[in-house]
């Protein structure tokens, strides 16, 4: 970024990136849909999560692996907000006040867990569910946690993640819901000094999935990588709201989300907020969102937003693009005998594959590639 651009950004008046949070539900009014943070969301389809609906349901958790970490149930009062998270909207506040117990996953200090910890959370009815999960990666530990969501559900949840100094944590979230599921989720990450956090955020299923992912830094030198992949089909609303708050010097963030849309009413929203605070000198940030629109009747909203309060930064950039198929690519593939459908399938596959290769967890890359294949087989082959 040139000095001039930084200057201009500095002159910007009030930021909307410092909202007052509160654990008190009543401090958050019922949204009307006109608010900046709600304007893209189809509130009517949230089944009252944003209003006053009671939480009566539950998800079934199945652990697929048992690497050397602990999982316990603890009183929510003991752990809520440990990541620095304070709800900034009504759903998050409601979900947090509705639970008495939280699930705490702890990676022991200096543990190096080669095997990922995989949990499948399955919904079995549309009864509203509230959940609170805390993942704590101890100092200098290394681990991967996979949270897979599936089935039918109406879920409002908060996941708090603490990555202690020098730890390396990868969290993979897979929203592979049934077509009728609704989820409004929040993940807040607190990144310690020289810690590395990577989030792989996959969204395929559900009727409405709205996930807020926010990160802040507890000390200098921390880095956050967020890789997102989503596929919205007919009538589906997938919304990602990201906020990286550079609260410490020499921190890094690298955000890349890619999505494909297909079918009437497929709607995706990507909000990429980055705030570089005055004290966050020498930071580097990059955020990117790319959407591939595969049919008519889809809408991809993409809003990158960078606010800078210091001129002393290493680098800051963003990119956002929404495109249809590239005719030249299709022509090239077809000129080798590949049918139009197959060429389109290859291009979409390639579009995502680029990102999948950055995941860096080999066993995951394979299963992700397979999931993309399955999604493509279901969608692209069937409809195009």
């Amino acid at each position: 970024m040139t000095a001039e651009v930084v200057e201009q950004a500095l002159e910007k008046v009030e930021s909307h990136l410092h909202p007052e949070g509160s654990f008190d539900v009543d401090a958050h009014e019922v949204p009307t849909g006109r608010e900046e943070i709600w304007r893209f969301t189809p509130l009517k389809r949230l089944r009252g999560l944003h209003q006053d609906v009671e939480f009566t349901g539950a998800l079934k958790a199945t652990r697929q692996t048992e690497p050397g970490l602990t999982v316990e149930t603890v009183p929510t009062a003991d752990v809520r907000g440990v990541s620095g998270f304070v709800p900034t909207d009504r759903i998050a506040a409601r979900a947090l006040s509705a639970v008495a117990e939280s699930t705490l996953v702890t990676v022991p200090v200096e543990a190096d867990l080669a095997e990922p910890f995989i949990v499948t959370l399955t919904g079995t009815s549309a009864d509203p569910v509230a959940e609170h999960v805390v993942i704590r990666a101890g100092r200098h530990s290394r681990a991967t946690v996979v949270l897979r969501y599936e089935g039918t559900a109406t879920l409002a949840d908060n996941v708090e993640i603490v990555v202690e100094d020098g730890a390396q944590l990868t969290v993979v979230s897979v929203d592979d819901w049934a077509d009728d599921a609704v989820r409004a989720g929040h993940r807040h990450i607190n990144v310690g000094r020289d810690a590395q956090f990577k989030h792989v955020d996959i969204t395929f299923g559900g009727d409405v999935v709205r996930n807020d992912t926010t990160a802040e830094y507890a000390g200098p030198g921390g880095s956050v990588e967020m890789l997102g992949l989503y596929f919205a089909d007919e009538g589906q609303h997938i919304e990602h709201r990201l906020f990286v708050d550079h609260t410490a010097p020499k921190t890094k963030s690298h955000v890349v989300y890619k999505g494909a849309l297909q079918g009437q009413g497929a709607h995706t929203v990507w909000i990429g907020n980055v705030l570089i605070r005055k004290e966050a000198e020498g930071i580097e940030t990059y955020e990117e969102n790319r959407n591939l629109v595969l049919s008519d009747g889809c809408q991809a909203d993409s809003v990158p937003n960078l606010e800078i309060e210091t001129g002393e930064i290493e680098g800051a950039g963003h990119a956002s693009a929404t495109a249809r198929f590239d005719d030249e690519q299709l022509f090239y593939l077809r000129s080798r005998g590949i049918s139009e459908k197959e060429a389109q399938r290859l291009v979409v596959h390639g579009f995502f594959n680029d990102l999948i290769r950055q995941v860096g967890v080999p066993e995951l890359e394979e299963s992700l590639a397979a999931t993309v294949e399955a999604e493509l087989a279901k969608n692209v082959a069937g409809v195009l």
Binding site: R336, G337, I338, E340, R357
Partner: protein, 252 residues
């Protein structure tokens, strides 16, 4: 034995000022076993001819015919033309991010043959084709043309020609951007292809350089959307000596 006939081909493109006529009646016939060279100055319509035969959507065919063994090529989709036996090596090969060369070639070969290639020989075939083009086997794991140098892209086109083995190959400025060593490698690849049973070649080039390695049977000089003159290899030699001047009509 196959024949590719181009008869009075007229092509225009859409521009902001309406349709612009580019090809004004091109006629030529290539039989398998023959190598034809098309030479001509920049903008004379060489690439337009190649792309029109391959079916690029940008070009409107306003008149004429293209027949492959009597079949109307212009009625076929792009991929049908390839499956009928046509291959176009492009002047500017397109990058397809995230799709490996291996996956691409396998998908193409499967589409052309109607069945997946035998796994046992396939990897060897692909690696052999890459190797003959002085491309490291690692290229098969790289995305199609992505980050390839200009010369690597051209060599990869010939590796594809080798593996996909069409009836007719149209090579559009395969020689541009190649240094002398790469030019020899690429020419060897083309000659290997031509030496196979019943293959026809249309070699489009701006320079005579490549014709020292790939010997044409017929040379066509393209000027302003038409064939200005056709002849034997000696025509290329004349162009080498005197350039295109004689063929370009004096401006009124």
């Amino acid at each position: 034995m196959s024949t590719l006939e181009i008869k009075d081909l007229q092509v225009s493109v859409d521009t902001e000022d309406g349709a612009k006529e580019i090809l004004k009646g091109v006629t030529l016939t290539i039989k398998s076993g023959e190598t034809h060279a098309i030479m001509g100055p920049n903008g004379s319509g060489k690439s337009t001819t190649a792309y029109s035969i391959a079916g690029h959507p940008k070009y409107d065919i306003t008149g004429g015919e293209v027949l492959l063994d009597g079949e109307n090529v212009l009625e076929m989709s792009v991929d049908e033309r390839a499956r009928a036996g046509l291959f176009l090596a492009m002047q500017y090969p397109v990058e397809v991010p995230g799709v490996s060369m291996a996956n691409f070639l396998r998908t193409a070969k499967t589409a052309l043959d109607g069945e997946a290639p035998k796994l046992r020989t396939w990897v060897k075939d692909v690696n052999g084709a890459l190797d003959r083009m002085n491309l490291d086997p690692a290229f098969s794991q790289r995305s199609v043309n992505e980050g390839f140098s200009g010369g690597e892209k051209k060599r990869a086109e010939i590796a594809q020609l080798d593996v996909l083995d069409p009836k007719f190959a149209i090579l559009d400025e395969i020689d541009s951007g190649l240094d002398i060593d790469a030019l020899k490698v690429v020419s060897d690849g083309i000659n290997d292809y031509v030496a196979r049973e019943a293959k026809g070649l249309l070699l489009i080039t701006h320079y005579t350089r490549i014709l020292r390695y790939v010997k044409p049977d017929v040379v066509h000089v393209f000027v302003d959307g038409r064939i200005a003159e056709s002849g034997g290899p000696e025509l290329a030699e004349e162009l080498e000596a005197t350039g295109y001047e004689r063929f370009i009509p004096a401006k009124a």
